[in-house]
Each structure stands twice: as structure tokens, then as C-alpha cells.
């Protein structure tokens, strides 16, 4: 008489745990590619020197947001090397002298179909939405989703909606999608 095999849950558990490992540790490394900024930029050093984010990231007279400073803005102070750091040397040699805009990689670029007004959100601190990099010597790691092309910092729609709902602001489509 054949002895009936005893059923075991081990393969199931193995599969379950493998999926968790794959999903939480391996998958993020596969889906996101790590990219380097042209050179390191110390927000901390600049914040200490200039006192406020708006010294570089300001609103224009018409209310539009200047975003990343242009080469012309940076060269107002760094037309020549003034601190002697290796990163500043790269900036001066590769961009100032060659009159090239720095191809900064933007962490929180919104999709083209989203209209976002910075000035409408002026009452909130920058770090409400952006990573708190004002006190950091180094730039955050820049991870790009290989499928969508957006970074891991890109704000998702549900976050916008949640904040709007919390603050009793309309969540109608046309508010963000013009």
C-alpha cells in the first residue's frame, strides 16, 4: 500500500518570500536607472550664503516661477571660480567658459498634461512637496523609471488630490489638466 505523501506548505512559502524579495529589493533596482548630475551642487552652502531658496528659485514679476537658475544667474557670482572646489571647477571650465547651460536633471518634472502653478502654492514651504535638500551637501540620487521616464520623486496625482481635498480646493479635472 502506497503511503500518502504528506502535504507541505514550504514551496508555497518559498515562492511567497521570493516574490517579496524580488518585489521589494530587486524590482526597484531593475525598474529605476541611476543617473548622475553633471556635478555636485551643495544646496546647504548656497542657502547659508544667500539665506533663502527664493534667492535662486524666484517668482518673476508676472508670477511665473523661474525654476532652475540659468547659467546667466549662476555666473553673476561664479563667472570665475571663487571657492576652488572641484565641482565649481567643472562648472566654470565646462559651462561658464563654454557658455553652455548646465543640463541639470530635474527631480520633480510634471507631465506635459499637468498645469502646475507654483505661485498658487506659495503659502506652503518648498519641502512640503520637494525633498528637503536645503541642508544637504550632496544632491539626492537621481533615479529614473525606465518605462515612464519620470523620477522616483515625481508627485503622483493622488497626492495632489489628497492635499486639495484636505484644503477644500476643487479636485475638478480642469484645475490641473487645462
Amino acid at each position: 500500500m502506497n503511503k500518502k505523501k504528506k502535504s507541505t506548505a514550504t514551496p508555497f512559502l518559498l515562492g511567497f518570500i521570493s516574490a517579496l524579495i524580488l518585489g521589494w529589493w530587486i524590482f526597484p533596482n531593475i525598474i529605476f536607472s541611476k543617473q548622475e548630475q553633471p556635478f555636485n551642487f551643495s544646496h546647504k552652502a548656497h542657502l547659508e550664503q544667500l539665506g533663502d531658496c527664493s534667492a535662486c528659485h524666484f517668482y518673476r514679476d508676472d508670477g511665473s516661477f523661474s525654476g532652475i537658475p540659468s547659467l546667466e544667474s549662476c555666473t553673476m557670482c561664479h563667472s570665475e571660480a571663487i571657492t576652488g572646489t572641484p565641482d565649481e571647477k567643472i562648472f566654470v571650465d565646462e559651462y561658464v567658459k563654454k557658455n553652455r547651460q548646465v543640463p541639470w536633471k530635474i527631480y520633480q518634472k510634471q507631465p506635459d498634461n499637468v498645469y502646475f502653478s507654483h505661485i498658487a502654492h506659495k503659502k506652503y514651504e518648498c519641502k512640503t512637496c520637494h525633498p528637503d535638500i536645503g541642508h544637504s551637501q550632496t544632491m539626492p540620487v537621481y533615479l529614473v523609471d525606465k518605462i515612464t521616464g519620470y523620477t522616483n520623486y515625481t508627485m503622483k496625482m493622488y497626492k495632489c488630490e489628497r492635499c486639495h481635498a484636505k484644503n477644500h480646493v476643487s479636485n475638478a479635472c480642469y484645475i490641473c489638466h487645462k
Binding site: 514550504t10 514551496p11 508555497f12 518570500i17 521570493s18 516574490a19 524590482f27 511665473s64 547651460q101 507631465p111
Partner: protein, 685 residues
């Protein structure tokens, strides 16, 4: 534990269930949905530093100031310039489409000459200069061998070109036919006025528009729309078709374009009867006699087919208003009857609205910097159509076309005359109908690619001067036509005392008490000073003949052709605009052919039904159209959308509609030294 089939299935099931507790399925589903929104062929919005620069839009419509918005110094879009008196913050469909047109496939890529097979061949700038100078040298100093047609009457470039022509012993310098030229003729030549007519619409509280679509496509319509939208005024519209101006009017009265002057004179009858005082102008007594004899309102109303009460109410409205203003115009630029314009100007005179707040203004002519150039006033006096009919151009061997496209916009007989000179030169940005007929193409930079100036566009309320600078590097190999002509003039040792177009503008700015830098920074020179017409006359033999045109006996099958003009169909220089295609509706433009709008009564008379295919025949041509029965057009008339039937090599214009100008017949206006081609009578069948 053996890893058998059952074990594998358990492992797979465990894996599948486990993956639900990881980001894998959710992230992949989200990513794939986002990926499908970002196909690689979808144009990306450029990112970078945003900036804005001032410019002046000149593409065939009345110029106005704009802000050009740039990202990384690349123009993206435009908006109206609130400080510019011709924009007041507004733009029109031409402005909305002006950035894509910078890259239009219609742009002429560089200098070209036509070879013996009629095909264009690229040449160098030196070669272009040599070809033209050799041709000019061959003419010697014989009179009127060269003619020039300018489509931009606001630019100082006219000084350079007319000076060049004067030195080559030619006075054949013309502006392209327009209502501006007709207004000058009506005001200066017929009524003995002074200066150019301006309209103080900002301060008007009651406007009577005689066939004049001034809120859509006539005069300074961008500014007019802004004034109407912000301040508003009472508006009465009299014309053959309910256009975009009439739809916002308190009342529309259907009157044929040929009878608009009669309506105005019917109104004049009441104004004179009810006014306690009459203006001190020459000929008032004879004018009153003529009104009493020929233009009693009841008689007029019967003649033109409107109600006598309509004439009375309009007269009452004009008299009761504090600042009434009367405008007249045509949907065919320069092609309408001058007597409509004269009658509108007479109404303004009778209402004592000359140089008054909210009335018509006598705007001084622009100053002249180059002494040998022709005065703006004298160019306005040079009527192209009259000169062609008088055969002034019969010995002309070279003709220049600057920013104008008369081979599309003028009737056939005029086009044929313009093509007679042996050598034709085009200073155009686009390969338009005129450029295609030319022998030498000297591409002008697009307005965003060059410095230009603008002195008092038609429809302004006061003299104004603005300047704009080059905003982008040229997309094609183009050259400012002024610089091109100055170089040739220098080589031929002609005396044009300016080194460059920039120095000409600098001198003009100084003359006006401004500096070029200030003007480039957005300062707009303006001067409310008006000229005083001392000897206005509202009656003369000329006016008498003009208003007493013998009554035509019309055939019972003849109908009036009404061109329907809308800014969204572009200008004669641009053609249909890229962004306009979405706003031209299905009831305005069918997939094939054109709609022929016809009043239900007329449709019944001619046994026509909606969507019947009909043949429209005039003395000059035949077209086919689709019947569209509409109450928006007066009886005994048909309306057809103008601005179509282009021979342009771009997808927005190819095989779209027909050019109704082919149906227009040029005829002399009785009693005037002036020609008209609208209204034209057609037969339908």
C-alpha cells in the same frame, strides 16, 4: 521535501500571491498606463528658462504689439501687449498662429531665380544683387521703368524703397489697395480734409457700422474688440450679411453694399432736419437740396428695401448719443465703393464729430527722414488700380512686391496687368501666389527675425510709433529687403543717406523725441495732436455725380455677391492658419468646395434646396458651391467665405475652397477717380 510538479505549482502560487504584496503589479500597471500617454511621437513641451520679448505682428492684418514668450530663447507662443495701443492686450487668430508660421514649409529658404523652364533655382546673395543691378542698369534713366508695391504702409522701409525708386526716375510707388487708401481718397481728395482718418472708438458711446466688420477683420480689429469687450458701446449694424460684428449689435439692418451710402444719406436727412445747428462746411446748402430731392428717408427705404423706421431710429440714436461714431468699410480690402466711406464721413461731419472725443480724428502723416523718399501722403494718392487702368505701368519693366500678395487678393484683370512687366521681384517671407509668379525671390526675414517699426496703423485713434527688435536667429537664409536695396543703391552710387535700416529708425526715433533704446524697451511714442481741416466740403460736382449714379436695370436673375471675411481664415499673405482649422466650423467650410449662403426667400425664388450644388457665374469667372440656406444673409444676395482657394504648397491650404476674387469685376465708380469690385453681380444656376 521533493521539488516535484506539485511543489513547483505551490511555489508558483506562493510567488504569485506574494507578488501582490509587492509593488510589482501595481507599479507596472501604473507605469504602463503612463507610458501609453507618452508615445515618442507626441511633441514634448520644451523645458528651460522662460522669457518674453516685445514684438509687432505684421502678417497682412493691421499691425499690433505682442509679447513673444520664449523657452530657452525659442519662441513658444504669444500674447497681446496691454501697453500697445493697437493690441490693448488682445491677439487675433493670426497672432495665435504666428509662432508655427516661423517654421512654415511655405518659407522661402534663400534667394532664388526662375530658370528658363519656370523653375526656381537657389542662388547666392551676391548673384541676386548682380542680377537685379544689371537689370536696373540696363533701363538707363528712363522714366517710370520701375514700379513698387508695398503691402506694409506702416514701416519706414517705404522710405528706403521710394527713395530708391525716385533716384531711378520713377514715381510708381504704391500701397497695396486697401480701405486705408480709400479712406484717404474720400477724406483728402473728395471731402477736402486733412491728415488721415482715425477712429476714437475708446470714447465713442454709439457706433453705426456701415458694412464694416470692425470687430472681426476690418481696421484695428484687435484693439476694437478689446474696447468693445471692456468698455462697450451701443452698436447698430447695416450691411448685407450678419457677420461677427453684427452678432453683437443691438440691431442689424439688411442693406446691399451698393446701397449703404443711400441709407447713410437717409439718416443725414433726419440729422439735418432735427439738428438745431448745422456745421459750417462748404456745400451744405446744395447738400440739403440734394437730400430733399433724392434722399428722403421714405424714398430711400423703398429703394433699398429696408423699413423707413430703421433709418429714423438710427438717426435718433446718433443724435441722442453723446459721442456717436460712424464707420464704413468693405469685406474686400480696397474693393468696396468709396461713396459708402464718403457718406459715413459726411455723417460724422454733420454730427460735428471731427476731432472730437469719441469721433473721427485727423491724424498727422508720419515724418520723413530720407529727403528723397516719397511722402506717405503722396504714396496714398498714388492709386494702384487707377494707374493700371490709365496704363501708367505700360512701360514698366521691373516690378517689386514687398510684403504684398496682389496676385491672390486682386481681381483677375488687375492681376494680369501686374504680371506684364518683364522682370518681377518678390520680397516675401512665403512662397505665395505673387512670389510664384516672380523671376527673382529675395526672401525677407519673418517678423520675429528682424527689426521693424510701425507708424500709426489704420484704425488708430492717434499717431503712434513703435519699434521691435529681432527675437530669433533666422530660420532660413533671409535678408532685410531694406539692407538688400541699400547695398545695391550704394553699388550704383545712388544717394540714399542712411547706412542701414537701424540707423533710419534711430533717426526717426530722435526726430520724434525718443531714443531707439527706449522704443525697443517697449516705450510707445504717441501724439494726440490732430490736424485741422479748414475747408471741408460735403458737396461738389464730384460728390453730386457720385451720389447720383444712374439706377441700373438689373436682370431678375442677378444676385449680389457678398464676400464673408473672417480673421480666422488668415490674411492674403498667410493663407489658412495652422491653429484656425479647429475653429472653422462645419457650417462654414464643407469638406469639398464652399458653401453658398442664401436667404430662404431667394432659395424659394430660384427653386434651390439645402445642399444643392450650384454654379455661380460672373462676367469674370465661374465657381461651384453647395447651397446653405440661412437667414443670416439678405434676400437677393449670396454669401461665400473669402480667403480660400489658395495656391500655396502647404497642407493647411491645399484644395480648400475657392477664391471668390476670381468672380469680381473691376468697374469705375461714377464721379470718382476710383475703381471698385465689390459688390459684383452674379448669376446662379
Amino acid at each position: 521535501m521533493a521539488f516535484d510538479r506539485r511543489g513547483f505549482l505551490k511555489f508558483a502560487i506562493g510567488g504569485a500571491i506574494g507578488s501582490l504584496f509587492t509593488p510589482i503589479p501595481w507599479k507596472l500597471a501604473d507605469d504602463i498606463s503612463i507610458w501609453t500617454q507618452n508615445w515618442p511621437w507626441i511633441p514634448r513641451i520644451p523645458r528651460g528658462e522662460m522669457s518674453q520679448k516685445r514684438s509687432i505682428l505684421k502678417l497682412g492684418a493691421t499691425p499690433y504689439g505682442i509679447w513673444v514668450h520664449l523657452v530657452n530663447k525659442r519662441p513658444i507662443t504669444v500674447s497681446g501687449d496691454k501697453n500697445h495701443p493697437q493690441s490693448l492686450g488682445g491677439i487675433d487668430p493670426v497672432g495665435a498662429s504666428c509662432v508655427p508660421l516661423l517654421y512654415s514649409p511655405m518659407r522661402i529658404n534663400g534667394p532664388m531665380k526662375k530658370d528658363s523652364n519656370g523653375k526656381f533655382k537657389p542662388i547666392s546673395w551676391n548673384e541676386a544683387e548682380k542680377i537685379l543691378s544689371d537689370k536696373i542698369k540696363k533701363l538707363g534713366n528712363k522714366k517710370n521703368k520701375i514700379a513698387f508695391i508695398s503691402g506694409d504702409e506702416t514701416s519706414s522701409a517705404n522710405e528706403v524703397f521710394s527713395s530708391f525708386l525716385s533716384q531711378l526716375n520713377s514715381q510708381l510707388y504704391f500701397y497695396e489697395p486697401s480701405d486705408r487708401v480709400k479712406y484717404f481718397k474720400g477724406w483728402y481728395t473728395i471731402l477736402n480734409g486733412d491728415g488721415e482718418v482715425g477712429f476714437d472708438l475708446e470714447n465713442a458711446d454709439y457706433v453705426l457700422a456701415l458694412g464694416c466688420n470692425f470687430l472681426d477683420s476690418w481696421g484695428s480689429y484687435v484693439r476694437n474688440q478689446k474696447i468693445f469687450g471692456t468698455k462697450g458701446f451701443d452698436l447698430q449694424y447695416v450691411g448685407p450679411y450678419k457677420d461677427n460684428t453684427s452678432v453683437v449689435a443691438q440691431k442689424t439692418i439688411f442693406v446691399s453694399e451698393k446701397d449703404l451710402y443711400k441709407f447713410a444719406l437717409g439718416v443725414a436727412y433726419y440729422l439735418i432736419s432735427w439738428s438745431p445747428t448745422l456745421p459750417g462746411v462748404y456745400g451744405i446748402g446744395d447738400f440739403i437740396k440734394a437730400l430733399n430731392k433724392y434722399f428722403q428717408p421714405d424714398k430711400v427705404a423703398k429703394d433699398i428695401g429696408c423699413s423707413p423706421q430703421d433709418i429714423k431710429e438710427v438717426a435718433k440714436g446718433l443724435l441722442n448719443a453723446k459721442s456717436p461714431l460712424v464707420l464704413a468699410g468693405s469685406n474686400t480690402p480696397g474693393g468696396g465703393p468709396i461713396k459708402n466711406i464718403v457718406s459715413a464721413l459726411i455723417l460724422n461731419i454733420l454730427l460735428n464729430r471731427v476731432n472730437k472725443k469719441g469721433g473721427i480724428k485727423c491724424i498727422p502723416y508720419p515724418p520723413k527722414v530720407i529727403s528723397s523718399s516719397m511722402e506717405h501722403k503722396n504714396i496714398l494718392k498714388n492709386d494702384l488700380i487707377v494707374s493700371l487702368k490709365k496704363e501708367d505701368l505700360k512701360n514698366t519693366e521691373i516690378i517689386f512686391f514687398y510684403e504684398s500678395n496682389p496676385i491672390y487678393s486682386l481681381p483677375r484683370d488687375i492681376r494680369d496687368e501686374l504680371l506684364k512687366p518683364d522682370f518681377k521681384v518678390s520680397f516675401s517671407q512665403f512662397m505665395d501666389e505673387t512670389a510664384k509668379e516672380c523671376d527673382l525671390l529675395v526672401p525677407a526675414p519673418y517678423f520675429l527675425e528682424r527689426m521693424d517699426d510701425c507708424f500709426t496703423p489704420f484704425g488708430s485713434s492717434k499717431a503712434n510709433y513703435s519699434v521691435c527688435d529681432k527675437i530669433v536667429s533666422p530660420v532660413v537664409d533671409s535678408k532685410n529687403p531694406c539692407e538688400f536695396i541699400l547695398k545695391i543703391a550704394k553699388k550704383m552710387k545712388l544717394n540714399i543717406p542712411v547706412n542701414s535700416f537701424k540707423s533710419l529708425i534711430e533717426t526717426k526715433a530722435e526726430y520724434l523725441g525718443e531714443t531707439l533704446d527706449k522704443l525697443l524697451n517697449g516705450n510707445i511714442w504717441s501724439d494726440p495732436t490732430t490736424t485741422t481741416p479748414y475747408a471741408l466740403r460735403i458737396w461738389s460736382n464730384e460728390i453730386k455725380q457720385m451720389f447720383s449714379e444712374p439706377k441700373e436695370t438689373l436682370s431678375t436673375t442677378a444676385l449680389e455677391l457678398v464676400p464673408i471675411k473672417m480673421a480666422k481664415t488668415g490674411t492674403c499673405r498667410t493663407g489658412l492658419l495652422p491653429f484656425s482649422l479647429d475653429v472653422i466650423y462645419e457650417d462654414e467650410l464643407p469638406k469639398h468646395g464652399v458653401y453658398v449662403y442664401i436667404n430662404p426667400k431667394t432659395a424659394l425664388d430660384f427653386h434651390l434646396q439645402h445642399r444643392d450644388i450650384v454654379k455661380i457665374t460672373s462676367k469674370t469667372g465661374t465657381i461651384k458651391g453647395i447651397v446653405y440656406i440661412s437667414n443670416e444673409i439678405k434676400p437677393r444676395a449670396i454669401g461665400i467665405l473669402s480667403g480660400l482657394g489658395r495656391k500655396l504648397d502647404n497642407e493647411f491650404n491645399k484644395n480648400i475652397g475657392v477664391n471668390i476674387i476670381d468672380l469680381f469685376e473691376t468697374k469705375k465708380e461714377t464721379g470718382t477717380n476710383s475703381y471698385m469690385w465689390s459688390p459684383t453681380l452674379i448669376e446662379i444656376g
